[in-house]
């Protein structure tokens, strides 16, 4: 190995060959400005075309290239080899998800969780649809942070609660619920809080906070979940004291 090389230890799993996941090592040329995704693409193009991983935008927007890099869930496109390189770079599929092949994991359960929080604007009466629903900058600011999620699932890979209770609705879906609950155009807050106040809802969270640490977009799902716990409690109290009222 030359001084200008770096070793990638990549976890391989090939369903058609059977067996358990194994590690494979690749030695590739090192550049100071290379990201982990560049390394994976170098391997795919020049050494081993069978290595399988998802990627597209290479700029932290599409959210498809997540993997555990040296044990930490990261976007491989935004992780510089120089920052994680300790003799070797270990790349594994995101923790807590079923592996389909090599670094490709199954995201269907995650998408069902997103769908479970009613991730769209709910209204009893849509009124005149040819007119705009005006929002002021401060209205947008109320949910802007939660609207920046790119569905990369790093927060689920980092969440020990999701790891042990796969039914837990989880960080990104909770943050998305808060995004719509804070939208002045929405009237669905009550139903969302009812969903999150169940056995698989926000109370499962023990506030470890790893989700917010690994989030590449500063969505801060941990804070969102704490806010939702408060809102769900308020809703519960209100329903006890004022039956028939609704959350807004």
């Amino acid at each position: 190995m030359a001084a200008s090389d770096v070793v990638f230890r990549v976890k391989r799993y090939r369903p058609e060959s059977g067996g358990r996941p194994t590690f494979q090592e690749y030695t590739i040329p090192y550049r100071s400005d290379m990201v982990v995704l560049d390394g994976l693409n170098y391997i795919k193009d020049h050494i081993d075309p069978t290595l399988t991983f998802r990627w597209s935008c290479r700029m932290g927007i599409c959210g498809s290239c997540g993997a555990d890099v040296n044990g930490q869930p990261r976007l491989t496109c935004g992780t510089y080899v120089r920052d994680v390189h300790k003799g070797a770079v270990t790349v594994e599929p995101l923790s807590n998800f079923p592996i389909l092949k090599d670094l490709v994991v199954d995201f269907d359960d995650f998408l069902r969780k997103l769908a479970s929080v009613t991730p769209y604007i709910v209204r009893k009466d849509w009124g005149d649809l040819t007119k705009e629903y005006v929002q002021y900058p401060e209205d947008v600011e109320a949910y802007r942070q939660q609207s920046l999620c790119i569905n990369c699932m790093l927060c689920y890979a980092a969440c020990p609660v999701f790891g042990s209770s796969p039914e837990f609705v989880g960080p990104a879906a909770s943050a998305l619920a808060l995004r719509y609950n804070r939208d002045t155009r929405d009237e669905g807050a009550d139903a969302r809080l009812a969903r999150l106040n169940t056995r698989t809802g926000v109370w499962e969270c023990t506030f470890v906070g790893e989700c917010s640490v690994v989030c590449p977009k500063d969505v801060d799902p941990a804070a969102a979940i704490q806010t939702l716990k408060f809102l769900a409690t308020m809703r519960h109290m209100r329903r006890l004291l004022m039956p028939g009222s609704s959350s807004r």
Binding site: S17, K44, P49, T50, M59, Y120
Partner: protein, 449 residues
Amino acid sequence: MKRTVYAADKVGFHILHTLFQTSMKYDRIHRFDEYFVTSLIVDGGACAGVVAMNLRGGTMVAIQGKATILATGGCGRVYEFTTNGFIKTGDGMALAYRAGVPLKDMEMVQFHPTCLPGTGILITEAARGEGGYLVNKDGERYMQRYLPSKMELGPRDILSRAMIQEMKAGRAFEGPYGLYMGLDLRHLGAKKINERIPMVRELVEKYMGLDPIHELIPVRPGQHYIMGGVSTNGKGETTLPGLYAVGETACVSINGANRLGSNSLSECLVFGAACGLAAAGFAKKKASYPRGAAAREALKKEEARVFDGVLGRERAKETVAGLRVEMQQLMERDVGIFREESALADACGMLGKMRDRFAAVGLADKDRVFNTELTAVLELDFMLDVALAIAHSARNRRESRGAHSRTDFPQRDDANYLKHTLAFRTDGPPRIDYVPVTVTKWQPVERKY
């Protein structure tokens, strides 16, 4: 009146996620995530659905439908240096093209002036809209030499050409990824940068390791958008009944030879809605569901072509990565920002040879499940069709217009070329034809600033 709307500098991002999330409201929308379409099903002169590879299951399936809408975006990956994602390989264009639908105005390729060297990550126009300067290595706002009335707010094609001219004149910076110019936002101040163009700062910090509040942003022009695409009318209808196209995949001709920033959003929102309504109306009116026979036949044909044919080819000298890079570099060099006859003739010839060489591309990965080497080969197959359409369309337009700049024909020639190019697929080179431009309210005039 403002000509567009904004969600800071993340407009497309918010449209995408709002649309995706809202789609979850409707039980009758069935998503087929990670299915790769390999061909259209054509039955009795109409599109009757698609044949697709289920990547996770490793099987080929026929998905029948009365109406089919192509919305696969652009084809930036036919170029080496592009702002587009890795998946923008022109699949929808090639699918329609292979079914006999013409591709319109494919020579009209937009190059965006401000992309980060190395990665091609786009620095949005808003950076200049908010007052950013373009400077050369002497610190001079060089646009005063090319377009003093508009300076940095000039159109993308002129700004991109000016960059190439500054580079040729030896006034560019030099870095590890070649020549570049400077985008200077420092005079805007931290507050304006953070409020109005937060994504610019985020991207530059993350992917260049620089803070635009204090440092120049290195930029160079890169492929960004294709004005051409599957020929459609304003309702997204193609010449094949039941087949629709919308967005960058389509050419509805709102962009002419030179798209303005944000017009792609109209293509999504305005023409997306029109196309959806037209396709739904078509499906409603069509009494009978497609017969199964054509779908079964198409499925068999694609299984044989992809699984027995492409997947069966042993890996040898010709590799998908090698041929792809060759094609991308050729397109960059000969069918790029400046074009002329001998380079275009060379490109047409070389691409034809690459079409033949493609038949020898073999695979190391023989799995059916999630075989991304196989999808890369099928994408290269699509890209070669698209690249050929671009090169031949460019060679046949012997004038300069908008983004299409011929050094051997620098003038616009309305007498001969006020018309749309149509490229039809044949077994040999594309057949090029023309249709008149529909001129309504705005008469063509000389472009002056």
